[in-house]
Every structure is written in structure tokens, then in C-alpha cells.
């Protein structure tokens, strides 16, 4: 059990899970358990689902995923917070949503975009997603890749020859794109700290 020693938590067995697999697997659970529909989903499968997906892909502008315009992401209000936070972030002027959320490799780029576009559209329409969205393992890997792509120079010393084993950028820089903190701050006076002490 994790409690017995923090060491377990300092390593692969817990750490990457924190931003990767576990986080989203249980998110999927939630999405399914959330809807008694889960069985229906399997039943109706392809037809309706794809239908729905495509429907929103068009109606809810899921195809926005194919663009690089951040504004386009906010065609879904569920992306609004991220957009607002991004506008307050250190990257607003230097990186757009898709700069961080799609591979910087022309081929895979559109695959990822189309796939996310489709599934997020589906999720959006069906409502099968948690209020606090968290990044999927695959997309987290994509994002980590983009950090390294743009920051290759400055990070050679820490990802370079001196470290066979990899390390996550997001572990420390989780708020570069749109920090949770800025979600919090966004509904209160900046830096407001409660008077009680």
C-alpha cells in the first residue's frame, strides 16, 4: 500500500500513472458507469455511435480539431476553461492548443486530430465525460513530445546522453499551457487568500 512508504510513489509504479494510465482508465470507467447506457452503447454500436459522432463532428464543429485556431477549440464550451487559462498562460503567445496537443509530425498529426475530434465529439454529445477532464495516456505522450520538440536545445542536458531513463516535463510544468491554479483564480480576485488564519 502506498502509505507504507513514499518511495513507491516516487517511482514508475505510481508516478507516471498519476498523469497517465490510471487517471484515464478510471475516467473511462466513470464514463461508462455514468450511463446505464453503456450496454446499449455496445448494442447499437457502430451505427448510432458513429452517426452521433459524425453528427456532432459537424454540428458541434468537432472538425475544429482539424484547424489550429485555438478559438476553434472553444466551439465546445467544455474547452472554454482551458482556453481562458491558456490566454493567461506563459504560452499564449508562443503555442496554440494544437501545438501541444497534436504531434509535430505531419502524418500522425491529422490522425490524432481526426480521432480526438471524433471521440470528443461523441463524448460531448453523449455527455459521457467527467466534469474535470483529464488527459489520456496517448495524448499526454503526444504533449510531452511537443515540449521536447520545441525545447530540444535547452533540455539536451537533462534528457540528453546523461539519462537513459526518461523524465516527465509535465511533472513540474503541469501549468504551462493552462494551469489548474488559473481555473481556481479565474473565479476569484487574483491571489485572493482567505482572511481567516
Amino acid at each position: 500500500m502506498a502509505i507504507s512508504s513514499g518511495i513507491n510513489n516516487a517511482g514508475e509504479d505510481i508516478f507516471p500513472k498519476l498523469s497517465l494510465s490510471e487517471r484515464s482508465s478510471q475516467q473511462v470507467d466513470r464514463m461508462l458507469s455514468k450511463s446505464s447506457l453503456s450496454t446499449v452503447v455496445l448494442g447499437v454500436l457502430a451505427g448510432v455511435v458513429i452517426g452521433l459522432g459524425m453528427y456532432t463532428f459537424v454540428y458541434a464543429k468537432g472538425y475544429s480539431y482539424l484547424t489550429t485556431d485555438p478559438q476553434a477549440c472553444t466551439n465546445c464550451h467544455v474547452m472554454q476553461e482551458h482556453f481562458d487559462a491558456w490566454q493567461k498562460s506563459s504560452h499564449r503567445a508562443v503555442a496554440t492548443c494544437s501545438d501541444c496537443h497534436t504531434p509535430h509530425n505531419p502524418i500522425t498529426k491529422y490522425v490524432v486530430k481526426a480521432e480526438n475530434g471524433f471521440f470528443h465529439s461523441l463524448a460531448f454529445t453523449s455527455g459521457w465525460f467527467p466534469d474535470n477532464i483529464s488527459i489520456r495516456p496517448r495524448d499526454a505522450r503526444v504533449t510531452e513530445g511537443t515540449c521536447r520538440h520545441c525545447h530540444a536545445e535547452i533540455t539536451t542536458s537533462i534528457v540528453g546522453p546523461h539519462s537513459a531513463k526518461d523524465m516527465s516535463c509535465v511533472r513540474c510544468h503541469f501549468n504551462v499551457g493552462h494551469s489548474a491554479a488559473s481555473f481556481v483564480m479565474s473565479n476569484r480576485p487574483e491571489g485572493q487568500s482567505n482572511g481567516q488564519r
Partner: protein, 441 residues
Amino acid sequence: NIFEHKQEAKNPFYRVVELNDRTEDPSVWGKNFPMQYDLYLRTVDQQRTRYGGSEALPHSPTEGDPREIVTRSKIQEDERLKRMWAGYSFSIDYREKRGHAWMLTDQTFTERQKAGPPGACLNCHASMVTTYNKLGNGDIFKGFEAVNRMPYPEARKLVNHPIACIDCHDPQTMQLRVTRPAFIEGMRALKASQGIKDYDVNKQATRQEMRAFVCGQCHVTYYFKGKEKRLTYPWDKGLKVEQIVAQENQDKVVEWTHAETGAQVFKARHPEFETWSQGVHARSGVTCADCHMPYMRQGGLKISDHNVRSPLLNINRACQTCHRWPEQELKDRVEEIQTRYYDTRNIALNALMDLISDIKAAKAAGASDAELAEARKWQRDAQFYIDFLVSENSMGFHADQYSVKSLAEAIDMCRKGQLSLRQRNLQRVATSASSGNAARK
């Protein structure tokens, strides 16, 4: 479906009815705000967490107590609590709390009613705005004073609902507001101690503070002052347990005489607000509402979850806005903090039981009041510390280090009480025993 999303996004609420300070019935407010109303109604639900939430137990209705569902009895679960409160109404009946929907019922039918409580009790168990206004002809302070001193049964007739929209919201603007004179007075005293004069919570508090203050109207420790039974929050010196003990000692508060030891003691109650204020979340501007009424999506809207409950039943919304850890990990973190607290709490309760046993035994052995005075004083203070921590409902989470630190102080007090007693006994026999100097030193 998708149309809804777009619709609602444009126009959040429809003003179906006009609301004013005479509109008590939440179902009427519900016409304008159906989503919040529906959620508010769900506070009847009961569900356990490891240390919190509540359990629904069947109860065969008697005419004295028609409830068909009650919660677990805390004093049966832990005999030490019963003994700590020996001689006081809490040793008759003290149960797990549950959702807001139950507050009026549970208060009306608790066996503590045998002690004949004052109307002041209602301040935190019913919707009081209209009642206070009526009795005070528009002056809530006057209405408050009137209710305080009434006998409970009489006052009970004047109220109809558990907490309702009107108790937290301004009917015109829907802004949060404080409607409880006791909180307004307590907060004024607290701010004064920090050098801020004539603090007016409804004018000066930030929106973020209000998201905690509305809860602080009730989730606090209190006592009834004088025969006017004025509901009082003893915050004149600050919100830390040591400051509250100092204040109540200064006010010479004595609520009962301990049945086993004869000590003059006083009670602490659910100090969630005071405890939260000492934690890192309060320090970070995180309020009660952030965790107990987190934002949730309904259709295209973000609304506050009015089903006020344990955040552990709602981790994604309550915690993951700020913490990127998986739900299970967040739950484990809370339980690790709570278990450390729980273990320390056991040490403290055992120390208190030992002190009570020693005083009782010394009394039985004929020790005089003068000889018992010091030990009884230790019991009085230590017991309040422990009560303060035991009555708090987050099992240490609201302020993890502070809570355990206070327990450490209480443990030391209990043991010093025991020592004071034994030392004195020794001195009495010292002359006849070589080991006397050992004791006297």
C-alpha cells in the same frame, strides 16, 4: 442533447416568480432555479465514507420520536465519549450528522431535548430569516434575541423548514449573504482582534470569503451566554483552540459538572469553520463551497452542486479541479491523513479516561476539593481540547498538522493532571516513605 447545450448557454435562468425576504419556501425559489433546487432536495440521501458521510439505520417510530431512519449513535460506538460527557445531555444521545434536509427533524427528536434546550438552538437547524424578521419587525438582531430566550418547544412552532435558499442568498441578486447575528458578532470580534474595527461581513467580505462564511454561520463551536441564552461564538482572541479556551475561561463558561470527577466543564461543538481556517486550503483561498458544493456541468451551464455532502462522494468535481491525481489516490491521501489523526485521537481519549479514573479514585479515597482542584482544572481544559477535535467532522483533514498538534498538547495536559494528583498523594505520605523525595522533586 446538443440543442439544450446551446440554448442554456445563452440564457441561464428564467425569472418565473418574484422573490423577496418573505419568500421562505424553497420550492418557490425552485421555480426560478430548478437545478439548484433539485440538488438541494438530494441532501436527504445518506452514504458512508470510511470516516464520514452517514449511515441510514431503521428506527421504529415512537410517538416521542416518529423518525423511521436515524444515524449511528456515536456514544454507543465509543464509550469513551459517553464518559467524557458524563452528566451532560450528550451522554444521553449523540449521533452521526447527516444531510441538511434532516437538520430540523434530528434536532426536534434528539433525546437531548430532555435537557430542555433554548430556542437559540434553532439558529442553525431551521430557516430563520422570515422568523427573525417577523419577531424583530425587520430587525434580525431583535428577532434573534427573542428566539434565543424562548423555550425550544415554543420557538419550534415559529419555524417551518430546515435551512433554505433564503438563509444563504439575497432574493433579489442571489448573492451570498450572512443572515445569522451570532456570526456577524463573532466575526466582528475576530476582526477587531486583528485590528479591523466595526467589520461588517455583508459589506466587506470578498465573494470568496462568503463561500466559507455562509457555512461558518453554523459549522462552528458556540455557547449560550447568560440567561438571555444569547448564542455566542467565542472568537474574541482568535480561532485556534487555545484562543477559544482562553476566551471561554475568561467568560467563566461552565456547562455542567462532570458526573464522575466533579470538574466544572464546558463543551465544544463541530468547529469545522475554525479548524478549516488553520489549514493549508484556507491559506490557499480554498473554501467550503469549493469542496462541498463544487461546480458541476448541467447542460451547458456550470452550477454549484447544492447537494452539500462529503467531497469523497464527489472527488472528480471536488478535488480534481485542482489536483491531478487519480480519484483513488486522492481518497487514499485523505484517509492517510484521517488515520494518522484517528490514531492520535485514540491516545488522547485514553489519556483523558486515565485522568478521569484517577480523579474519581482520589475522590473516593477521600481527597479534598482543594487537593483535586489542580487535576480538575487540567481535566477542564484538556477535555475541551479533545472535545473540540473529536466534534470536528473532517477527522483531521481540514487542518492535518494543526489538529494533531492540538491533540499532542491535550495529551500532555491529561498526563500532567494525573501527575499533579499523584504527586500530591505522595507528598501527603512522604514523611512516612523514603521514596518521598523522589516524589517531591
